[in-house]
């Protein structure tokens, strides 16, 4: 296995790394997309006023066949329990009433968003589609989703334009709760989030070829959602699916990534996984293995074990596979476990109750990670199983424990997966785990699971409306960066904070109308609020605006900022006059010296006894206090110097 942390950008390119994003961003709205419920979430998703349960099954597609992915979903046999609260759900979320007309305000926002990304092809007639999901996350079994536009882009700093292939607006799914055990056959969802409008922004999978470009792409998209004020804010408002492939591998989707900072790790680990799977494929081919070599023969070896009632143990032989199940494919995880995670999810047998013959090796991954199978197989049993299965030296075997039905099901899935290993990397949707690895969630859904929604008539988009909406597009984040870095030498980080804190309008008001310089406006809008928040004195926009006007009129100067802000916070009713009185006294050199002397005398003896100490501890405060009382436009540095001189004298 390649060490994932050793990969450089060059390595990624050499491996043919490509990645795309599906950014799901909740949209600001007054109601949910297809009903009139308020889009508010429960603080604790375990709370509920009412609860009910359902089962789902796949339906025939338009062409009369089942989507492969959907069949696998059905095999999981989930019972789905819903928690719901009356304030944010109705019979629509319960799938007990057809949809209401979609929220036009949200659709409008979708189009405006598309203009931010310079989309070229718009849905001039919006057609609501259904996208099947059988995991229970949507009570209807399908998500209502529609294309707004196609063929846009976001620019990267290196000049690359990452194409946006599709921009969709859709309803968000329900929130999964009680997700601790993927072997569990009952799943729980809270319906509060179901129906909250989302934008889905999909980038072209071929356009990004290093993790850092991927991160930048995600950040750019996030900036657009923020600067346009179209995106909803808060935890969980944005979730990303990351599609990754390397040469010889295939597209694998990592689902529901919330933290952009984890992208790098996920990319590295997925690249390593795909690379290892390709190696395994090569090795299998070299050993002359063919799909027909793996037979669906499950041997009942229950008699070898003391088992709880209704439990059985079954084994299957995998010819010429010795050593391959034990091959590490992601840090701390071997090929066997990767397969077992899939059979666990589908059949409900925990990975602990799966065993593969490489586990017994001296230095096996499972041993190293103290992740033993709980099927009690010792040296003696191992031999017995080998005899029963009639294995040769080069063969491997797998053992599972569970109900008879589940065992057969699991072994069937494992054999099918091993056959797929001959094709390399299977297309899968995977769930990221906290350690940065990922596990099987479902096979990638095909386009067969998308079909038109007969409940909602198509919505015509007036071409004049499109023109109108285009005018509502403000400055784009990359344009803003260019402008502010040119004018004030701002960094991306500074611009991001202005966007994130929603201070752009004030910033341009301060700089353009009040004619403050950019750095000062930035300090006032970004740095001071943070400083004051740390002091538990959060600043209101009102105070900041008053301060800016005082600065602009020359009533106070920048060195006085802290004291003035404090004063304004404490005296919200103060007039310009009182402020002038307080802060505008002009001192001559002598008066300033006296003031400093007086302030120093107020300090206790110990304070000034040690000069260094005094300097470090009291100086900043002292300087601020003195500056606060003057309006001489003397710099802090000068006052510090004067204080220093006094201390020397003393």
């Amino acid at each position: 296995m390649i060490d994932p942390d050793s990969l450089t950008d060059d390595d990624f390119r050499k491996l043919g790394f490509h990645a795309g994003l599906e950014v799901h961003h909740q949209l600001q709205s007054r109601r949910k997309l297809f009903c009139n419920c308020e889009p508010v979430l429960e603080e604790d998703p375990h709370n509920f006023d009412y609860s009910f349960h359902r089962y789902f099954r796949p339906v025939l597609g338009e062409m009369g066949d089942f989507d492969e992915g959907m069949l696998i979903e059905y095999e999981k046999g989930y019972k789905v329990i819903y928690y719901a609260n009356e304030r944010n759900t109705c019979t629509y979320e319960m799938d007990e009433t057809p949809p209401f007309m979609p929220d036009m305000e949200t659709i409008t926002k979708g189009f405006i968003l598309a203009f931010y990304f310079d989309c070229k092809a718009f849905a001039e007639e919006v057609v609501v589609n259904r996208k099947q999901y059988l995991d229970g996350s949507i009570t209807t079994g399908f998500q209502r989703t529609f294309i707004i536009a196609r063929d846009g882009y976001v620019p990267l700093q290196n000049g690359k334009k990452v194409r946006i292939s599709n921009l969709h607006v859709e309803e968000d799914a329900a929130r999964r709760v009680n997700w601790f055990d993927t072997s569990e056959r009952t799943v729980y969802y809270n319906l509060d989030r179901l129906g909250v409008p989302l934008a889905e922004i999909i980038t072209d999978h071929l356009d990004v070829d290093t993790p850092s470009e991927l991160i930048e792409t995600a950040l750019q998209i996030g900036r657009v959602l923020r600067i346009s004020k179209i995106g909803r804010r808060g935890i969980g408002a944005v979730r990303q699916d990351v599609n990754i492939s390397i040469t010889g591998g295939d597209r694998v989707e990592l689902k529901g990534v919330q933290d952009i900072h984890m992208f790098d790790k996920y990319c590295r680990r997925e690249v390593v996984r795909q690379h290892s799977l390709i190696e395994i494929q090569k090795e299998m081919l070299e050993r002359g293995l063919k799909k027909e070599d793996f037979e669906h023969t499950y041997i009942d070896i229950s008699h070898l074990f003391a088992l709880p009632p209704k439990k059985k143990v079954f084994a299957t032989i995998f010819p010429k596979m010795k050593g391959l199940f034990g091959k590490e494919i992601q840090p701390g995880k071997d090929f066997g476990i990767d397969i077992f995670e899939k059979s666990m999810l589908i059949t409900g047998i925990p990975t602990d109750y799966h065993f593969h013959s490489d586990e017994f090796d001296e230095n096996s991954v499972r041993k190293r990670n103290n992740n033993y199978s709980r099927i009690p197989i010792n040296e003696e049993l191992y031999q017995k199983i080998q005899t029963l299965l009639n294995t040769k030296d080069s063969d491997a075997f797998v053992v599972v424990q569970g109900s008879e039905k589940a065992c057969m099901h699991a072994l069937k899935k494992i054999i099918e997966r091993v056959k797929l290993a001959l094709d390399g990397v299977p297309q899968e949707t995977r769930r990221v785990t906290p350690d940065g690895n990922s596990e099987f969630l479902r096979v990638i859904h095909g386009k067969d699971r998308i079909y038109p929604d007969t409940d909602t008539p198509p919505i015509l988009i007036d071409l004049e409306k499109l023109e109108e909406w285009k005018k509502e597009v403000g400055i784009k984040p990359w344009e803003l960066l260019e402008e502010l870095s040119k004018r004030y030498n701002f960094t991306q980080n500074q611009v991001d904070l202005l966007i994130r804190d929603d201070k752009l309008e004030l910033f341009s008001e301060f700089t353009d109308e009040l004619e403050l310089d950019g750095a000062l406006a930035y300090t006032l809008l970004i740095e001071k609020p943070r400083e004051f928040r740390r002091k538990h004195m959060p600043l209101t926009n009102e105070v900041i605006k008053r301060c800016a006007r005082l600065l602009s009129k020359g009533i106070i100067h920048r060195e006085q900022l802290n004291t003035v802000l404090e004063f304004l916070q404490e005296n919200p009713d103060s007039t310009e006059e009182t402020i002038k009185e307080h802060f505008s006294t002009q001192y001559n050199e002598k008066e300033l010296e006296d003031l400093i002397k007086k302030e120093l005398e107020n300090l206790s003896f110990e304070d000034v006894n040690n000069k260094n100490m005094a300097f470090q501890l009291v100086l900043p405060n002292l300087v601020a206090r003195i500056i606060g009382k003057t309006n001489n436009c003397v710099s802090g540095g000068k006052i510090a110097k004067m204080i220093e001189n006094f201390l020397e004298v003393k």
């Binding site: 799938d95 099947q132 079994g141």
Partner: protein, 464 residues
Amino acid sequence: MNDKQTDYEPPEGYRGELLERLVKDKIRTWAEIRITKGEAKYEGILLPRSLNTDDRYVTLKVDTGYNLGVFVDDDTKIEEIGYKKGKYKLPSVDAEFKEDLPNVTLLGTGGTVASRLDYRTGAVIPAFTPEELFSAVPELIPLVNLTPKTLYQILSENFQPQFWVKTAESIAKEIESGADGVIIGHGTDTMAFTGSALSYFLRNLPIPVVIVGSQRSSDRPSSDGPKNILYSARLAGYENFAEVVVCMHGGTSDSYNLIHRATRVRKMHSSRRDAFRTIGDIPLGKVDEKEITWFRDDIKPRGPREDFYLDAKIDDKVGMLYFYPGMKPDLLESMVDLGYHGVVIIGTGLAHVGTDMYTALERCQEEEIPVVMTVEPLFGYTHLRVYETGREMLARGVIEGANMLPSAAYAKLIWALGHTRDINEVKKIIQTPVAGEITPKEGPRGYLLMQGIERGIDEFLKHL
């Protein structure tokens, strides 16, 4: 580009100028097309256009499977770049006849329990082959020998009384050929009407007849149809009862179904799964994954086939009026003029109509047209002896329908008039309980409508 365009067919669903243009360029539905409009390019499959939509747009299915519409003006370029017509194919399911399983016939009349929608036109398309049914609900295979047959492909609002007759005849045929039970797949809207009619038509019914449908169509993964049909198959195949019943979800969860006597059931919600409720009584029984529980002891058991006969004589010149404040007698009078043979009136409260209606009632009396009264509150009996109005109405010959539901009364009057026009005979038939449409009494459980404020309701809601 496909060269063979000899068998060119104009694109389905397109109209007007756009159609002319597509025809001129020989562009077909299901062809891959490219549309160019200034900077914008769209590629995808040209789909048939649904009816009642704007005729200046084309519908495209793009590579991701999504559909969208594009406005076509004079500057829009459309070209065909490929063609592949999808073939509708069915999964093959091996469901062979098993000697030890009960034989159940599923008669399809339309509706959504075992049909699928044509997404392109929104129409219900025949999807009633055993293959489809069994691939959608494979659990049926080991349960019963199920033979699906299609009677109609209609939405239930398009049902006609003569369709009830044909349905009854088909059931009779199944009974004769030894079916252990019959399931009727039916649109939910008028299920209660059909059910009532069948209850009167099928005399000495020897086997269960279960009417079933779905409130979420079977093209949806959350459909209630599969569970409904499974439970119905269990009822029809195995249970010892011989009545016409409706078997639909009892709650919003997929947890249990209720078994309703068809003459007492009513659809009480426009869309919920548990829309069907027994009115004025408790349901006959309940079925879930584990068991079937019967709640009553007046359920008719299976009987000898020899005793069975079909009595499906009808006269469908019957109408129904819903009395409202301000109703004028002219409506009822014009029914007489139009030659109606009988009328059901849903009257207020105890089954009253306003005094304005008296003249029309007199006219009916004169012409010997039976007027059967039922109650607007749905629950409770007609009582025309309590108030003066009622007595006046009785004096004008109206027939009290007791606690018959309007649907049950309507079907019954049609059936009664099929046998006789003699007003006294009709009255006798109407007022004699035939299949539970009139109950001798109503107990405290007959009327339980919760208002959401009852004590303990919060706990109840947590386990729907």
